[in-house]
Symmetry: C2
Subunit: 244 residues, 2 copies
Amino acid sequence: MFAMAGEPLTVPPRRPGAKSRRPRVERTLSRDAIVAAALRVIDEEGVDAVTMRRIGQELGTGGASLYAHIDGKDELLELVFDHVAGEIPVITPDPRRWQEQLKDYLRQWHAILRSHRDLAKIGLGRVPIGPNSLVGMECMLAVMRAGKLDDAVIGYGADLLAAYVTGSAYEGSIWMSGKAATPEAGEAYHRELETYFSSLPADRFPTLISLIPALMGDPVDDADVRFEFGLDVLLRGLVGRSKR
Amino acid sequence: MFAMAGEPLTVPPRRPGAKSRRPRVERTLSRDAIVAAALRVIDEEGVDAVTMRRIGQELGTGGASLYAHIDGKDELLELVFDHVAGEIPVITPDPRRWQEQLKDYLRQWHAILRSHRDLAKIGLGRVPIGPNSLVGMECMLAVMRAGKLDDAVIGYGADLLAAYVTGSAYEGSIWMSGKAATPEAGEAYHRELETYFSSLPADRFPTLISLIPALMGDPVDDADVRFEFGLDVLLRGLVGRSKR
DNA sequence: ACCGTTCCACGAACATCGTTCGCTGTCAAC
DNA sequence: GTTGACAGCGAACGATGTTCGTGGAACGGT
């Protein structure tokens, strides 16, 4: 499983014993090409459409050919996730405006995840330890330390914020999940859910029913407002927890 | 997909056209028995071990027999999730100690999820709309309203809190995930991760390295402290956001 | 210029998954 | 007593991740 542990920071060679006596000629396939193809499929059809055979076909071959460059599907998805993590620009911490810096960073991270369909799903059950993810983590921690937060708050808080960004991006992608990934289907599901809530017995769910407007905003317009709300709540809580 | 929308609150009959001319004699199989068997398998081997054939075998038959009572694996998992959601005791809101009530409720939810291995994984990509989940949601909303939070804060906040509980329970179960679900393997992975972080170049990851003790506590002892921290941060932020 | 080694590419195959199909036996309704 | 609906269930289908064995091309040594 965790084959990356202890390996150097740069993308590690797959076969440790391969001394590569040969100067590694450029063949048609490569790790980067495979990752790019997988990302292309994710952008077009979502993470569930990523299949070894599908990626191979995208590169003009079969699924078995990928195993020469990649250990398996798990590692492939991890590579894709870390690849897009590299798209986030790094930040040099400025103690005077660290909060807005941190928020901006998380906003960008969230936006990038959302721009790749349900890519966030990959990061849900994982501890991201790819090189780019680590750079992002270091960046986040540095900004939080510039804010003079307690070490314990930074340690727990960074995890909390990272989980929030990933989870929020994934939840936002659920509305267009499943097979019919069209925005119309998402809105249809949204409406169906709203009518379902409205049909509940008012005597047993009084609070729920009275809060339907607050619980369900427009699924697309509301996504950013919702994310911003969580961001504000989390940072408010973190600084409140740290001071004193 | 969302076949439950619009159906009555009690567990809906699977086949809408089945008028049940026969008074539904008690056969060996039943929805409840299937759900119980699935939960048993989850407790013993985790969610990934839940297979139609495995559940059938658990009940002394094959996998195909389940489809007479259940639409498919997706619905089965949803039923299991909602079943354990029924274990959480409901709360009558007390405005004077609503915060501790809310915390206690989320603590119990978290504990129940954690007690069923990686069951939380099921709830990650779903909007829980089962009957028991709805009762829990109503309960949560009522307590928050007793705290006189703004409606908007309740609406967004309830989602935030629910996602936190589920996500936190799942993350906690990752340490013992994979195949070798033993606690020793979890600790081994934890140690491996720590040495990996320690091996990073100190000139490029100064903050990360200096925060290793804060980032990684003991995986088991630390889980509750970590959860409590997030709870405190979230509630702090929510009330701060609501007051003015 | 030749050969041998190395290793990528790839079709076929294996195990496993969710699900469907068609048959059988049984029990309730007429 | 007859009939018909339906739970139960083995077999099968399509798709998945992964492994195996073969082939062939490119490089280094001679």
